[in-house]
Symmetry: C2
Subunit: 314 residues, 2 copies
């Protein structure tokens, strides 16, 4: 099994205190075992019970709560009602669960004075997410969805998210789990997946591989990795967009590609989740001097407005 670190410059000292997100499913159980094997001793296992599958979710939590003893690491358990958050905020259950998870991770990071969290996303996850973004035209406004190393600001905490398994395929993880006789909860993560992801995993990718007779997962993986690096580099070229407002004149002078990224970065910095391409384009249309509309509707009854040469959220 090859555990490839694509970004060779990134190092995380094994004696530092790091979080690791563990759902109890195959991938995160393998990740935890692998981190321990690599000498990471000072880990905090984080499990959030999304309460999406009743007793089964509780059983996942119980299962994960036993792992820290086995490995002699710290454990943090949280609980949330993802379904009611989704209903309240009018977002998908998948998105609500993700948001709740990051809030939980941020809280634990603060309490534990850690800044890094390991997550178990693997190569097939990357390919599936790429295709979801491509087909849904939503998500990030770009195709480089999951990054090996990324940062995310949640509730004033800067989290560094590290995905060591991003170059490892699902069947390699299967082999790893079998070889080390690791127990895991079969449905722990998969049952909470969105319908689109399940269809892409179960039908679309197998169909494409058969119809095209090639290993398209490898080429999509590569394209996604390149896109992620290019988007990340473009983001680095942007000025810090944590301000409350965007200046219309300055934004207008940027090339189109940068306008989009700047707006996306700004909206995310203003804590607007799940910003899709449509919203970015609508905000961009506010730059047009002849634009009649000076207001863009966001979710949760919030709006982007242009007034006196500034763009802001209210």
């Amino acid at each position: 099994m090859n555990w490839i670190q694509t970004n060779k410059n990134f190092q995380l000292p094994p004696d530092g205190r790091h979080l690791v997100g563990v759902s109890g499913g195959r991938d995160s159980v393998a990740l935890l075992h692998w981190l321990i094997e690599r000498g990471y001793k000072n880990l905090v296992v984080c499990h959030l019970n999304h309460q999406l599958r009743g007793r089964s979710s509780d059983a996942d939590a119980r299962f994960v709560s036993q792992l820290p003893q086995k490995y002699d690491v710290h454990f943090e358990l949280g609980s949330t009602d993802a379904r009611s958050i989704a209903a309240k905020q009018k977002i998908s259950i998948e998105a609500a669960a993700r948001e709740a998870r990051y809030k939980f991770f941020a809280r634990i990071a603060k309490e534990q004075r850690a800044t890094t969290i390991f997550l178990g996303h693997h190569a097939d996850d990357l390919v599936e997410t790429f295709l979801i973004n491509l087909f849904r035209g939503a998500g990030t406004g770009g195709l480089g969805a999951i990054r090996e190393i990324s940062t995310r600001r949640v509730d004033d905490v800067d989290l560094t998210i590290v995905r060591p398994l991003l170059a490892v395929w699902r069947n390699e993880i299967n082999n790893y789990v079998r070889k080390h006789r690791l127990k895991f909860r079969e449905d722990a993560s998969n049952k909470d997946l969105g319908a689109l992801r399940n269809r892409i995993r179960g039908q679309i990718v197998p169909y494409l591989e058969k119809a095209l007779g090639r290993n398209i997962r490898a080429t999509i993986w590569r394209a996604a990795m390149i896109a992620a690096e290019e988007e990340s580099w473009i983001d680095d070229q942007l000025p810090n967009s944590r301000g409350t407002e965007l200046e219309v004149r300055r934004l207008r002078e940027l090339p189109l590609a940068l306008q989009r990224r700047e707006i996306l970065k700004w909206l995310r910095g203003r804590k607007m989740a799940n910003i899709g391409f449509e919203v970015v384009e609508q905000v961009r249309s506010l730059l047009d001097p002849e634009a009649r509309v000076a207001k863009v509707n966001l979710s949760q009854d919030r709006h982007v407005r242009r007034r006196a040469g500034k763009i802001f959220i209210e």
Copy 2:
């Protein structure tokens, strides 16, 4: 029918002399008619007979040769043997035909003192090309394959390639052709398509639309347009790479995303056609101080070598 110009800053004066590539197929016949309707009078219709379908190819050429009279514009006919070029250069027939076409366009552009050529690529072409690059992992090293406006240096001629129909769908072109009762050669371009493109057009895209129940062509189109703009912007940030050599030390200091683009741009500038991701990555591996191999094989018995801190082709 909406003929949308995405790049509003780009203007081409209708009285200037411009080339237009006409295969005789539906798309290019519609393009020619549309350009005439928009007041472009000083056009040079360019048709290259690829000799791929014998008498049928000759009939295409005869058909196209009659259009200039109808519209009172200039006509240039060329001929090439795409199949034997492909065999000689060990490249696909599709690639050989494309290369021969651009060489022909460049020659006519020089003779006619024109710099711009209109081509009939439409929105479905963009989607198909995006998917081909995605699944084959080859092509450009990126996903932004076809651009509305691009430049290409061929035999010391700088061609500006303009694709006014890139936001127009095939069925809109069908309607346009029907409405204006335009005659065209049914198989003129389609029969010369590669097998992969035909499968993507005929099977993959219809399957995806059915399986996902959404207009994925629109979202793929948008993703491809954004990718093209972002890649184009990254390319603009690169230093001019028309030099014969790349300096290892300078290249090493660039971020990964720029190393790739710089190598790609350099290889293209050295007239290496059909550079895929693998070659770019192999050349990039020459930057590694510990690399044992200092030579990368290209097509046509040419090689990239590293010696004395320089990377060059021999």
